[in-house]
């Protein structure tokens, strides 16, 4: 009964999506208010029914209903409750249900928070969201229903893949999907603007907070996935340039470019076409990611079971979306005016360079990810592109980007003096260069690359802080308190600072962990000691332990440094009852400047094991960076100016005219106060 209710709710959601994807668009074209109003109620209704479908599947998991094929394949009566709940998204069908639930959530969020948008605009945005929902709910219903019955019912489930039985994985997919699907909102705004034929500063202001939120979630989701690979899979790495990782990284790069390009469109009315193009490309890359992961063209931890129908459906869906939106773009983009002009050295050109570099990076990742797949698909041989390619490409592309990051936020719009900016930052530049070059001495053997990395990280952090201090410095006639001045800078500015400082931390962390990590595969017998990265790892004992749904061999390793006991690590090799494969469970000790961790390999004769021992310097800086960037994105999205009443159209037009007039007359001050609205 549960499965049938779920399926029925899913069908109703599909019908509502069809209503949402057609009626408001027709209404907007005809000026029919009643039809336009359908969008909002359809969005709410869709969310309700998707919620019911999702709740039914969760209920089936919790009550061990193995008469549903998906539950039987991904759960087990012995599975702890939290993994029964997260097991809902442990496979293709269920994770797709989560995906469309989140899509419904975003639709409803747009319907709720964009009440003040002009009626036509909201109708078009919701209409486009509805079209996207038709594609994905249809995909679920026609190729991947999680509610299919298994007859006769299984007595016991096959269990959730042990790799997925981890807290990191409980949150990784929902966060990632919030990001992926969130970009459909930016896409919907772009398409709605193209249909309406009006791309202006107001449009950018509406779509900017949505983009920032989606970007924040995607950042956090990717970070969680990386963290999971780092310590659950015990491969010792956290980024492998695996095609599936690349699939999530490409929309992130494009989305980052979009976020910056939107700033120009909102503030200066420039880059309009390019911004729309980026919104379309970002969402296309999201669809590509869905295709790569769900079609079975890739084989990796993420890839789901192979089913040609699914791949074909997604490929067709992607083709329709990309082709129709690009056609619309070609048809409408000509009508979009160019923004104000700008000089070679200006905030606009800095952001343009940022966009070009990010887009090229995304293209390079695309090439490295798709080329092997193409060759294989056409039977032209099997090749693979390894991390060296991506590293070789990324290094020279990121160097100028990171260097520029120190200047960008300080540059004036329209025109600025390069010598003046260089002069103002000379101390920051010099100090970060000197400290950056010295820092590697304290981590390990000095290398030029590590020095450059540390320099760039310090430079970004230093120049960001300098900018903050400059902006907080009171003007002569001002009597404002520090608190007031800080508030006046706004959350948008704070968000940018958080994210940029996060980038600085990431650069330092990545540089050091790539340059100085130490990894040793060793034979360890009880009582033996191994030195890795200046730490002594001593195997104290081996024993057998029991968990809720597994037995395990457990090693107790005590870590010393200079005779001081640092920590005790207890890695396990787990044998889950329902699986034939054993599964190593890593034990990790975190620290500010290094992680230590031990993984069990295989048993050797003589009371010994092959163990993998790691020393990972500055790893936590990378995680801290992810958190800062996420906070940054959310802060930027919550800026006051996005929440105030949206002005009527004529006011916006008037405003655009003022903007243009202002451009013609005066250059803006450097410490330009953020407009309060």
């Amino acid at each position: 009964m549960i499965a049938e209710i779920g399926l029925f709710a899913l069908i109703l959601a599909f019908l509502l999506a069809i209503a949402q994807g057609t009626l408001p668009l027709i209404g907007a074209a005809r000026g029919d208010v009643a039809l336009m109003a359908v969008g909002r109620s359809a969005a709410y209704g869709q969310l309700v029914f998707l919620g019911i479908a999702y709740a039914m599947l969760t209920y089936a998991f919790v009550t061990d209903d193995f008469s549903i094929a998906y539950v039987a394949n991904h759960s087990n009566s012995l599975l702890p409750l939290q993994y029964k709940i997260s097991g809902v998204w442990g496979g293709h069908e269920g994770s797709l249900l989560l995906w469309i639930l989140i899509l419904g959530f975003w639709s409803a969020a747009v319907a709720t928070f964009s009440r003040s948008l002009p009626r036509e605009v909201l109708a078009r945005v919701l209409g486009v969201m509805g079209l996207v929902a038709i594609g994905f709910i249809g995909f679920t219903l026609f190729t991947s229903s999680p509610f299919e019955r298994l007859l006769p019912a299984a007595l016991e489930g096959r269990d959730l893949n042990p790799m997925l039985q981890d807290p990191g994985l409980i949150f990784h997919p929902p966060m990632l999907y919030m990001g992926y699907v969130g970009f459909s909102v930016a896409f919907a705004f772009a398409i709605a603007a193209l249909i309406g034929g009006r791309l202006d500063a107001a449009w950018a202001r509406w779509s900017r907070p949505w983009t920032a939120v989606a970007w924040a979630f995607l950042t956090f989701g990717i970070g969680l996935g990386s963290w999971w690979a780092y310590y659950v899979l015990g491969w010792g790495g956290w980024w492998f340039w695996d095609p599936v990782e690349n699939a999530s990284f490409m929309p992130w790069l494009m989305g980052t470019a979009l976020l910056h390009s939107l700033a120009v469109t909102e503030k200066r009315g420039g880059f309009k076409n390019w911004t729309v193009m980026l919104a379309i490309l970002t969402f296309s890359l999201v669809l590509l990611a869905a295709f790569l992961v769900r079609s079975g063209v890739l084989t990796s931890v993420h890839a789901f079971a192979v089913d040609p129908d699914r791949g074909l459906y997604l490929l067709a869906f992607m083709a329709v979306v990309v082709a129709s939106s690009l056609t619309l773009f070609a048809w409408r983009a000509g009508k979009v005016g160019l923004g104000g002009g700008f000089q070679l050295v200006s905030r606009e050109s800095a952001l343009l360079t940022n966009n070009v570099l990010l887009a090229v990076s995304a293209a390079a990742v695309l090439l490295g990810t798709l080329y092997p797949l193409f060759l294989d698909a056409f039977g032209l041989g099997k090749i693979s592109v390894g991390p060296p390619y991506f590293e070789a490409v990324f290094l020279p592309l990121m160097l100028p980007l990171l260097l520029l990051l120190g200047f960008g936020p300080r540059l004036r719009w329209k025109q600025d003096s390069p010598t003046e900016q260089l002069w103002r930052l000379r101390w920051i530049f010099g100090v970060s260069l000197v400290f950056g070059m010295i820092w590697p001495f304290f981590v390990g053997n000095w290398s030029f690359l590590a020095g450059i990395g540390a320099f760039l990280g310090l430079w970004i952090i230093g120049s960001s802080l300098k900018d903050l201090v400059d902006r907080l410095r009171p003007r002569r006639e001002s009597t404002q308190t520090l608190g007031t001045r800080m508030r006046r800078l706004g959350r948008s500015y704070a968000g940018m600072q958080f994210a940029h400082i996060g980038v600085g931390l990431a650069v330092i962390g990545i540089t050091f962990v790539l340059g100085y990590d130490d990894e040793r595969d060793v034979r360890m017998a009880v009582g033996e000691t191994v030195e890795v990265g200046g730490y002594a790892f001593r195997l104290e004992r081996l024993e057998e332990v029991q968990g809720p749904n597994f037995d395990a061999d457990q090693a107790t390793v005590v870590v010393y440094r200079d005779g001081q006991r640092i920590t005790t690590l207890q890695p396990q090799m787990r044998y889950y009852f329902s699986q034939q494969q054993p599964m190593a469970h890593t034990s990790l000790h975190r620290g500010l400047v290094r992680d230590l961790y031990v993984n069990m390999g295989e048993e050797l004769p003589g009371n010994a094991w092959v163990m993998r021992v790691y020393y990972k310097p500055y790893m936590n800086w990378v995680w801290a960076a992810v958190v800062l960037m996420t906070i940054g994105g959310l802060l930027a999205a919550s800026d006051r100016r996005y929440r105030i009443r949206v002005r009527r159209e004529d006011e916006v037009l008037e405003d655009d005219a003022k903007l243009a007039a202002a451009d013609a007359v005066k250059p803006e001050g450097n410490a330009e106060p953020k407009p309060a609205g």
Binding site: L344, K382, V385, P388, Y389, D521, G601
Partner: protein, 153 residues
């Protein structure tokens, strides 16, 4: 006129940098392609020395043994026609088994031993690495063709 020249210069500069970057990307791409060969290819001597590539096939039954140090592993990878000796230092993946599919990344050493820097097995119980499957398919196709030809004479 001056503005126009400036713009022209800017466009030219932009195009040059795009060309540069494209060159850089393609160059890195060409240098870092990792090709795939089967054990038969290696025996047939068409594989370049000192270049990283991947091999795939089955771990030959009874071929796996650990060295004295407990870390070095020797095994043979077969595509059912011929087998190639492989040496690897470190922990093998959990699902590494004799008779099962495997893919290894590394390079060919003197004496025809493949020195693996990375060994990959299946991720779960229901899947064979596609490259291992490919190696076996090719070897069997080759075998079938040889039989046909010898039958024709």
């Amino acid at each position: 006129m001056k503005k126009r020249q400036k713009r022209l210069l800017l466009v030219a500069g932009g195009l040059t940098s795009v060309a540069l970057v494209t060159g850089l990307v393609l160059n890195a791409f060409r240098d870092n392609l990792v090709f795939f060969y089967t054990p038969s290819d290696i025996v047939a001597d068409i594989v370049p020395m000192e270049r990283t590539f991947r091999i795939g096939g089955l771990v030959e039954d009874g071929s796996v043994y650990r060295g004295e140090d407990g870390i070095t592993v020797h095994f043979r990878v077969t595509d059912t026609a011929v087998a190639v000796p492989v040496v690897y230092h470190g922990i093998l993946p959990n699902l590494f088994r004799e008779g099962q599919g495997v893919v290894a990344v590394g390079s060919l050493q003197d004496g025809g031993v493949f020195k693996a820097s990375q060994v990959m097995a299946r991720h779960d119980e229901t899947y064979m690495p596609p490259e291992a499957a490919e190696a076996i398919k090719r070897a069997q196709r080759e075998a079938a063709r040889t039989v046909e030809q010898s039958g024709g004479y």
